[in-house]
């Protein structure tokens, strides 16, 4: 690491549950410093009681997402220099999820909705059957491929205003996974998936403004996946299958 150029004032959310406040820390500023580096510095050298979550540090595990200057981001791959406007850096727990402590949120509601959306594998064959061929150029496979690199970081979930307003809404990540499985040759749950995503919290609640796709750090497009689900559900309804 090169020598510090200056000190940065960083406001970090501290508190248990929903009650808390921003506390300011002075952190040495380096080139090529990520937001996660800043948080780690505070925990290592200023206040070891700061709670936050991370694992891989390379944008794979999806555990380090936080609100950075009011926007959801994966902090291990977010360079401070890219997000600091007037030298202000404000770090808060991810939006739309209950806070456990400081920067760590309880992600249960996020993952519970994956199950509610039937974004789980519905096996179509047993160990005695031949393996289903997955053809890379198949039109359906391409639709599935477009969304499978999701790292479950919940950045899209935090960006989504519909999640904020409608507690039942399954959210972009769960719906996108439901869509990839809907298009997966190995999944036998098409009908189950459509039924799961057509209820009060289903895909039809999406306002299609694209906050999810704008913020997804993996550059996926959950909004498009949701549009696919809406279309498939509409067709099923017209055929009397919903």
């Amino acid at each position: 690491m090169n020598s510090p150029i200056k000190t940065r004032h960083v406001a970090v959310w501290r508190g248990e549950g929903e009650i808390g406040h921003f506390e300011t820390y002075d952190v040495p500023a380096y080139d090529n410093q990520t937001v996660l580096d800043v948080v780690s510095h505070i925990q290592h050298y200023i206040d070891p009681s700061l709670s936050y979550r991370f694992a891989c540090r390379v944008g794979m595990c999806g555990s380090c997402a936080m609100m950075v200057n009011g926007e959801p981001r994966w902090t291990c791959r977010t360079h401070v220099n890219k997000v600091v406007g007037q030298d202000v850096l404000e770090i808060a727990p991810l939006r739309n999820l209950p806070v456990i402590k400081d920067l760590a949120t309880n992600m249960d509601p996020f993952f519970e909705k994956w199950v509610k959306a039937e974004a789980v594998h519905h096996s179509s064959s047993s160990r005695d059957d031949d393996m289903t061929a997955v053809l890379p150029n198949d039109a359906e496979r391409k639709k599935a491929d477009a969304g499978i690199e999701c790292i479950n970081c919940a950045v899209c979930y935090a960006a989504c205003d519909t999640v904020a307003g409608n507690a039942d809404y399954l959210g972009p990540a769960a719906l996108q996974r439901a869509w990839t499985l809907y298009n997966d040759a190995r999944d036998a749950g098409k009908q189950t998936i459509l039924e799961a995503v057509s209820g009060v919290g289903g895909c039809h609640n999406c306002h299609a403004q694209g906050g999810c796709s704008h913020y997804c750090p993996s550059e996926l497009n959950p909004m498009q996946a949701i549009a696919g689900l809406k279309q498939a559900a509409t067709r099923a309804l017209l055929k009397g299958k919903l």
Partner: protein, 115 residues
């Protein structure tokens, strides 16, 4: 709060409204440009099954469409749900329907002898 059925109802009513709105605006421009008086307009609408159906369909589509839209906004802004939200949805749809139908009946069937 939108199920696939409510979603479809809102889309279908939107599809219905699009040509009806264009027709309505066309009629308004024609009536104003042509300098038709109230009596002349009523003369053409009274007893007209066509205008009753045209605006009747319009009112029905609006009632359903607006009720579903307002229901979504109300739920997302205030968190209202369950029975209360259902009453609100039906209440909005029925109120709009009654108000609209009253106006249509007034110009197509009920008003007599305006000169």
């Amino acid at each position: 709060m939108l199920t696939v059925r409510l979603y479809m109802l809102q889309r279908v009513t939107a599809l219905l409204m699009a040509p009806l709105v264009v027709g309505h605006i066309g009629v308004m421009i024609y009536a104003v440009q042509g300098g038709l008086s109230a009596a002349e307009i009523l003369g053409r609408t009274q007893g007209s099954v066509f205008w009753f159906s045209f605006y009747g369909l319009f009112v029905l589509a609006v009632s359903v469409h607006a009720a579903i839209g307002l229901r979504t906004i109300l739920h997302e802004v205030t968190g209202l749900s369950g029975r209360l939200l259902m009453f609100f949805t039906w209440g909005t749809a029925l109120s709009l329907c009654v108000l609209g139908m009253r106006a249509i009946l007034a110009v197509t069937f009920l008003v007599r002898g305006v000169s």
